[in-house]
Symmetry: C3
């Protein structure tokens, strides 16, 4: 059912204005496959020049390549030649998904529990066992999977989709075209307590969560509601799985975070930043635009300049690590001893 | 609906015994707001002396301040003067929430699945799609959100509340006044396997989870059941989101953990400890009372003395980090070379 | 109801072929308990020689010991003497659980939502509020807890069990005898985006997740679906809680990961590896068989040799850490200064 032809793909993705078709338009294409596994019925791509050597061995029906590889690609079969093969491949996956994805049934599943007065646009679907509380607004084409919870007053913009089991606590507002993976929890209470004589005293959290357009949220990722104002995720932000965004954080437009990142409370992150997996950002900091934090690095101070920042203990075999770690604990004494020697020799 | 007056707030939070009211009792207050965003209808607070400079610019109707700032605060408008403005603010949020929160409907939602013989106190509410198995006891005023699962024999003390989608596996016992955020999983199997010739062999986990009074559990946080005895979270403990507490751990009263912390099996943590985000505590350790672990630090040995402990690789620009990391891998040879020089010069 | 006798245990676990019974077969055993808490009605075990001193003080009815401790154990009461007491204890827990666990009711709970045409083996149970979509195959003895979601075409092998609230997205295939804890999300979208002029452009994820036999998955653990091919978890893998496995990863047979581990995209992990809690493995790496990564260590390069590898910043009191961390940021200058001194003295 998903089989197509090379010509159909070429036309659907913008024709010659986007890519040059070098090969038969009627070539049958049954799947998208990675370079190493692509057979004659598959289309594949080369996004990195270092993979060009695999051109000779791939059995792919068609390869999407940059102009520099056009000749080599055509020498072995059909090719689509375009300036940015990776973006072309990305567009191909979206076109392919749109025509092959099993569409949810429009309307509210009979087992769902939807409060009276919920406002729904055209083509909304709500899956089995979901709960939608009063005051919710759902834009056109919103899709809600099974076991979702939308608290009072939640707003979802048009074409935003929730996978099964997404929890949006009361007042969460989300823009258009978002996609939220399973297990995401948006709008849980921020972690706020005052120290009292008998222990911690709860600070109730009255802010909400505001999420812009075109935001993806990963599985089991959390974005807490703000204390008094909103936690904000701006347009085009992409969050991977298992991320923790604390209360009052702002993540600037088009920033992206890999899995297991944590951002502590009230930190403001600029636009177009990237965070490697398990990077940890402490609270009340400011991170400028276009800052890249390496995986597993800890940000303890505000960062004012764009650039790439790292702080990772190098991995070593355990015996070597133990020796270095032991020395590290006395590092400042090494420095003092070195200074003493320098004086002696001065 | 939530608007009030300054006098009503003052009276509700303990009157002159707790704070001195300097300003008109009939001042209308419509919201609590942060200092920078508070308008004439808002009450705000100053918890840190360094923010006192903002007193001049805020348009807040009333500011909660410490006695040292009373004069400056009154010079600009109404004030509530109290020894601990942050605690006063915390109490204000709780009072405000109690009067403005949408109360769940008493009783069992018709879509919930509650086993015969479940014992319920007065004023219990069970939300849609929740499942409550046999032998469960729910104290007065317990609130259970949608999509919760309470396994056989779960016990919840009075006024404990579960947000939507909380899973309490069989036998979990929780005290009074707890609050559990969405996605929490309490009582999943501890990670126990014996190495066998064909691979890992499961060790079934027969212990439970015992949680005291006044415990908050964050979104998507896990507390595993014990192997033979209970995993224990004592009174007043506060756990943020995405935390992992392994089997047989004990967390002492009033300890608090920020997001993404992990505690490995059988570790015993004292009272009134704090753990910064993503701190990792290895297994079979003992941590004394009043130990503070910095964010992202790894605890590999027991800690016998109160104090603050850290172990974080300092962040740097990537080029500098690479040079330092490369040197770090040879750190013990640096020490040896230094020692050789010292001998030569001795 | 779960009380038994020592003789019954001995017989059930293989008789004299596996362990020597030294004590009365009719000794009543009511529970399994840890060494320090075992009373006369309890069976316990000693897995580590350093615990042998506790033999004298334990009140346990029976102790499982290695031959080296047989004499000392028998001097105080009944004993089961076997080469590997820990494995014997593990087998005992499995036998005990099989006879004492509350069995789920066979069949589909009336509140579950099961699509027409789902194929079910004998003895399948599906809990309340679960959703099973079209094309799902469930082997004999599969048990599905409450609030689970099984997307289109999911396959579960015989005797695989899902705790409440497990999400298996469309096309996920799981072998036999697996156990998945609550909150696990298998088959969420891999994190794939291409950089475009207007921001990140989604790469749809067409691969699935393939999970072998005898795999345990922890609470709130995620395994993402592959981009074009499957993410693969081989036979006998054990994953603890809060783990993130990104798209296209392969985890080799019988490897085990403790809580909070993260593995980035396309990394291939060998067989019989172990990963301590919160270890982080970057993407596109290869890890050989029998590699052990210490807790909280970051793997940035492929590892070709079996062995134990570590990279953890040593914890220290905060003042000492600050001094060392400050020096660490200038470590390469220390090296240069040392080299200069060496030249001077050469």
């Amino acid at each position: 059912l998903t089989a197509t032809t090379l010509g159909e793909i070429h036309a659907a993705l913008g024709g010659e204005a986007v890519a040059r078709l070098a090969g038969p338009a009627d070539l049958p294409i049954a799947r998208i496959a990675p370079l190493h596994a692509a057979g004659p019925d598959a289309i594949t791509f080369i996004a990195q020049a270092r993979l060009a050597v695999q051109l000779q061995s791939t059995a792919a029906g068609c390869v999407i390549v940059a102009p520099a590889l056009a000749e080599a690609a055509q020498a072995r079969g059909a090719a689509l030649v375009t300036d940015n093969p990776y973006r072309y491949y990305a567009a191909l996956t979206r076109w392919w998904a749109a025509r092959s994805r099993i569409a949810p049934v429009d309307g509210v599943h009979p087992s769902a529990c939807v409060a009276p007065g919920v406002v729904m646009g055209r083509g909304v679907s709500i899956g089995p066992m979901s709960v939608v509380e009063a005051g919710v607004h759902l834009g056109d084409g919103v899709q809600i999977g099974s076991h979702c919870h939308l608290g009072h007053g939640v707003v979802l913009g048009e074409a935003t989709r929730l996978a099964p089991r997404v929890t949006l606590m009361h007042g969460t507002r989300v823009g258009a075209r978002g996609y939220f993976n399973s297990g995401a929890v948006i709008g849980a209470d921020g972690f706020g307590f005052a120290a009292g004589p008998q222990g911690w005293e709860k600070i109730e959290q009255f802010g909400g969560v505001w999420i812009g357009d075109d935001v993806d949220i990963g599985a089991n990722t959390c974005v807490d509601r703000g204390a008094l104002e909103d936690t904000v995720i701006e347009d085009g932000v992409k969050l991977d799985n298992q991320i923790q965004i604390a209360h009052n954080v702002r993540v600037g437009a088009r920033s992206a975070m890999a899995g297991c990142v944590g951002v502590a409370g009230s930190t403001k992150i600029g636009r177009e930043c990237t965070f490697g997996g398990a990077a940890m950002i402490l609270g009340h900091l400011e991170i400028a635009d276009r800052v890249n934090i390496s995986a597993a690095s800890v940000v303890m101070r505000s960062i004012r300049q764009p650039g790439t920042y790292s702080g990772i203990f190098p991995l070593d075999d355990n015996a070597a690590w133990e020796k270095n770690a032991a020395t590290l604990r006395q590092l400042h004494t090494l420095r003092d001893r070195l200074r003493a020697l320098e004086k002696k020799l001065a």
